[in-house]
Symmetry: C2
Subunit: 245 residues, 2 copies
DNA sequence: CGAATAGTTGAAACTAATCAAGTAAAGTGG
DNA sequence: CCACTTTACTTGATTAGTTTCAACTATTCG
């Protein structure tokens, strides 16, 4: 039993993205073996980037599972302050809430394919239930990390942490660490969010995010021409900037 | 082993007054009908306040359900910065993680009763599964709110939001709002966390928390002599200070 | 090519952190 | 029971980091 879970968990973590850019350009893809349960009563959505799926306060009686692409969840304060709460990728779920109203707005970041299950269907399928429980655990851990970032990290640490998420298989618990040093430890990441979106995710202003990028560039940790194609010269060095190592 | 812990807990317990309003003094109790599933293979813990249950990085292969009391989950950065991630009450669950290691430290805030189910047991009981799924949804929503607080609210808003959580049946989605105005809208709350803990929860320093308390007191929103027994003169007025309304 | 959008950079303002001193309450030992 | 220590909280002065405001640059799109 525990061996089962262990090997599944392990394969989840080490698997590489199945397709080119879709998920991991955001660094949030965890494209594990995803149960594809009975497709009865499931609606499929095929959405372009920056499309709203669900508004804060909307009726939310269905379970959404991301097949491909990425989705961001955000909240607004009455005076317009926005916080992007979660960045989700393939396998992640959203749209579930205790009371029937969504507590967040959900919109695509990239063109995305999403399956929508009716609440009743979702709750009657054990395999779906299992998928949902596992993803929720993962998302809770991600929210824990993010609370630490928002509560205790400074601007550069936040931006560095964000960028590390974009590097597949790094920055998490299983970060290779300085072990891998010595060999060229370069990475290319594609930043799909605007500076404003990054700011709203990191609890900063877009100016502060821009300054942090510029600082890391000036220090030689990053290099970029177009602002969305970033080369990380030494991943470990960037990792050192996150405050977590 | 577990007996050891239990008896230790009992001997230390006498030093602290066991209050039975324990849960809601933190405002986090949601004492609904909680399924009490097959108690087989369940270990019960009876712990005094400020007792560590689980350390960040510990093996975490069991599901913990809070029956009574309250528990805080926290994380540390290598340089000692701490963030309290969640404040949990009766019915809430913790100790589950995708990989086998706990991502947080868990410790009691009040004397607490906790059931610990072995992972295998938890995963084989449909009723437990259901409980866990529901609680996780609720906790995710709470984490969403908290991310908004940490990312976008100022010091006074954070403290006001924290205090509102201590008022039963207020501050949430179902806040009565200014409707209830006119009648005396007073509340007494017992603050069980120290200023340092509140600060670690709200992403502030203890001095800033203290100043926010003092400011709200000076403005007549709060009154208190002993720093842990706070009278909220007008709940709606405090609610106005949270930034959420 | 001009307009619009996104990003960068600088200076000033402001909020919260830090440093430091002082007060209040609780616990300890004579 | 009282001085003494410890712990928790408060308050003030100063500093640091981020936000705000503003100007400017680069890129994308009709």
């Amino acid at each position: 039993m525990s061996l089962d879970v262990a090997s599944l968990a392990h394969s989840m973590r080490d698997r590489l993205p199945p397709k080119h850019d879709a998920g991991w350009t955001l660094g949030i893809s965890r494209p594990e073996a995803m149960a594809e349960p009975a497709e009865k009563a499931a609606r499929h959505l095929d959405l372009p980037a920056r499309q709203t799926i669900l508004d804060e306060g909307d009726e939310a009686r269905s379970l959404h599972v991301i097949l491909e692409g990425s989705v961001m969840l955000s909240k607004l304060l009455p005076d317009g302050r926005r916080q992007i709460i979660e960045l989700l990728g393939p396998g992640d779920v959203f749209g579930l809430c205790i009371n029937r109203l969504s507590d967040v707005t959900a919109e695509t970041v990239l063109p995305s394919r999403i399956v929508v299950y009716d609440r009743a269907v979702a709750e009657s399928s054990p395999s779906l239930q299992r998928l949902v429980a596992d993803r929720m655990k993962a998302q809770i851990c991600a929210l824990h990390d993010h609370a630490m970032l928002l509560g205790r990290k400074n601007a550069v640490e936040r931006v560095a942490t964000f960028l590390m998420r974009l590097v597949p298989n790094r920055g998490g618990q299983g970060c290779a660490g300085p072990l891998a040093a010595g060999k060229a430890d370069q990475a290319q990441v594609h930043v799909t969010l605007t500076r404003q979106e990054i700011a709203d995710y990191l609890g900063l202003t877009l100016e502060t995010v821009s300054r942090a990028f510029s600082l890391l560039k000036r220090q030689g940790v990053l290099a970029y021409g177009r602002h969305d194609d970033v080369t990380i010269g030494n991943v470990c060095r960037l990792c050192q900037c996150t405050g977590s190592h």
